[in-house]
């Protein structure tokens, strides 16, 4: 499957605090923008794949609204950030196997105005495990990931300041991104004085909550070469395990499921971790960046914080990370905005934040702590 399929177009809406429209409209706007970007038309679409957590309209409604009455591939994946890369991977499989020729993958969510993951007042998600947690008041992602953060910090020695440097680094990237929600610098004093949300996580350890949609168009690599944009090849996609109360074997919260999955991902792409030029790492919370740097073998175990402190993860460093600002400072599209950023970087269209040598990108999904699933992509530019 390596390099047999490609992302031929990307489209998105702005990030909003209140989009004022439905998730159906958000999805339609992002998908049509992605088709425009690719130089394709609505009539070309024969596959539709999305993912959600009960917070968006299903793929069939979007298909019919687009006028795709006979979709060859139609998938609704259950999951938030854990499934963003898996959704793109499913499109690559559909195209490579000949099930479909032009697959749109999108995530549409009103995660600020309608369904706040970390918000107040909404009922708990229907995950079967939540029955054991919600009675104790444990239901919001910052609480779940605070449990993870403490385990990682206890093992690695990472401090609050180390988490703060992740947030500050990504804020500095967002300042170069006209789409980013956050537009002012973040200082260590501001970070350390921000309120605790769920100890050890503070406000600025937590991602933004936004209304938005992001879509990509996946087609065969051969066809993508003849389309409007420089293709971005899907070198590898991988899904892996995760932590859950039903796991018999994965009970160490200081490492993520990515540690086990990453060798499979790199082998599929035929590369080593050293060949990754940029990494768009799922960053619902700052510690996930440090943990994934280690678990994807981009930094030595327990040394991710030093790697960040040395400037390696910003522009001019050896591995720019979350070049758009990430979920912490650009906005929140459950991982697909990371894919969109990688596409821009690999096409050489990232403007003032362009990483000149960017040819190979790692895009990751949530590392599997809440959903028990993780996924990731390796993308390659041919500009």
């Amino acid at each position: 499957m390596r390099d047999q399929s490609a992302i031929a177009g990307v489209g998105r809406t702005p990030f909003y605090k209140n989009s004022g429209v439905s998730t159906l409209e958000l999805g339609l706007r992002a998908i049509t923008a992605a088709l425009d970007d690719a130089g394709l038309e609505l009539g070309d679409v024969d596959g539709l794949i999305t993912h959600s957590v009960g917070d968006a309209v299903p793929a069939s409604a979007v298909a019919h609204s687009l006028g795709v009455d006979d979709p060859h591939v139609l998938l609704d994946l259950v999951g938030g950030g854990s499934m963003s890369a898996a959704a793109v991977g499913a499109a690559a499989m559909a195209v490579t196997s000949g099930q479909a020729e032009t697959v749109v993958v999108w995530r549409a969510l009103n995660a600020r105005s309608e369904f706040r993951m970390g918000g107040t007042g909404r009922s708990a998600p229907t995950l079967v495990e939540f029955q054991y947690q919600v009675p104790y008041g444990l239901l919001a992602p910052p609480q779940q990931f605070a449990l993870v953060a403490r385990s990682y910090m206890a093992r690695s020695g990472a401090t609050s300041e180390d988490l703060g440097r992740v947030a500050i680094n990504q804020r500095s990237h967002a300042l170069l991104n006209p789409l980013a929600m956050m537009t002012t610098p973040l200082t260590m004093d501001q970070y350390l004085n921000s309120p605790l949300v769920s100890d050890p996580l503070r406000l600025f350890d937590c991602c933004l909550e936004t209304d938005t949609a992001v879509a990509v168009v996946v087609t065969s690599a051969a066809r993508a070469h003849d389309l409007r944009r420089s293709p971005v090849l899907i070198s590898a996609a991988s899904t892996g395990g995760g932590h859950s109360l039903y796991s018999g074997s994965r009970t160490d919260f200081s490492i993520s499921a990515a540690r086990e999955m990453a060798p499979r991902l790199y082998a599929r792409a035929g590369i080593s971790p050293k060949e990754i030029d940029i990494a768009e790492l799922y960053d619902a919370f700052t510690p996930l960046v440090l943990m994934q740097l280690e678990d994807y073998q981009l930094a030595p175990r327990d040394e991710a914080a030093a790697f960040v402190a040395a400037g390696e993860t910003t522009f001019g460093g050896s591995l720019p990370v979350n070049t758009h600002g990430g979920h912490l400072s650009e906005g929140y599209a459950h991982g697909l905005n990371h894919v969109a950023e990688a596409v821009l970087q690999l096409r050489g269209e990232a403007g003032p934040r362009q990483v000149e040598h960017a040819r190979t990108a790692l895009c990751t999904g949530q590392p599997g702590y809440v959903s028990g699933v993780t996924s990731a992509l390796i993308l390659r530019g041919v500009r």
């Binding site: 970390g118 918000g119 107040t120 007042g121 079967v128 495990e129 029955q131 054991y132 947690q133 009675p135 104790y136 008041g137 444990l138 239901l139 919001a140 910052p142 609480q143 605070a146 449990l147 993870v148 403490r150 385990s151 206890a154 309120p195 605790l196 949300v197 769920s198 100890d199 050890p200 996580l201 109360l245 039903y246 796991s247 018999g248 074997s249 009970t251 919260f253």
Partner: protein, 138 residues
């Protein structure tokens, strides 16, 4: 009162909490498991029975929540994830009898389950686990 909280896998586990028993499942192969479900992921057997633990364990991790995600919740409050002494793979969440900021918690602290029952009819489930330092409980 006998609660009806949980699902078809877990209802009897919750009811055991009301009797102040922290149970896990034991497969015919000997493997213990929690949370409740039908199949042993060690050997593939559907045959099991309840195993009564002594409620003892060690702290894996915890968080003190400072934002009221559920309106009206008194913050801060602590949730602790405990690994039961009975098995490496048995991780059970619960409340905390100590400091509401968790300042008296450390990874590896030895704890034991206490059972906190409520007569409130609108509370579901009626009995919850509250972890407490083991030397205080024994």
């Amino acid at each position: 009162m006998t609660g009806s909280y949980g699902d078809r896998d877990s209802a009897s586990w919750w009811q055991a909490l009301e009797r102040q028993q922290l149970q896990v499942q034991q497969c015919t192969c000997g493997a213990l498991r929690w949370a409740p479900r039908a199949l042993c992921n060690e050997c593939g057997s559907f045959d099991w029975e309840w195993f009564k633990t002594d409620g003892a364990g060690t702290v894996v991790t915890w968080t003190a929540t400072h934002r009221a995600f559920i309106p009206g919740t008194v913050v801060p409050f602590v949730v602790v994830l405990v690994r039961l002494d009975a098995g490496e793979n048995l991780l059970v969440p619960g409340g905390w009898t100590g400091d509401e900021h968790g300042s008296d918690l450390t990874v590896g602290l030895q704890v034991v389950a206490e059972f906190n029952s409520s007569d409130l009819t609108d509370r579901d489930p009626s009995t919850l686990i509250r972890w407490t330092r083991r030397n205080q409980a024994n």
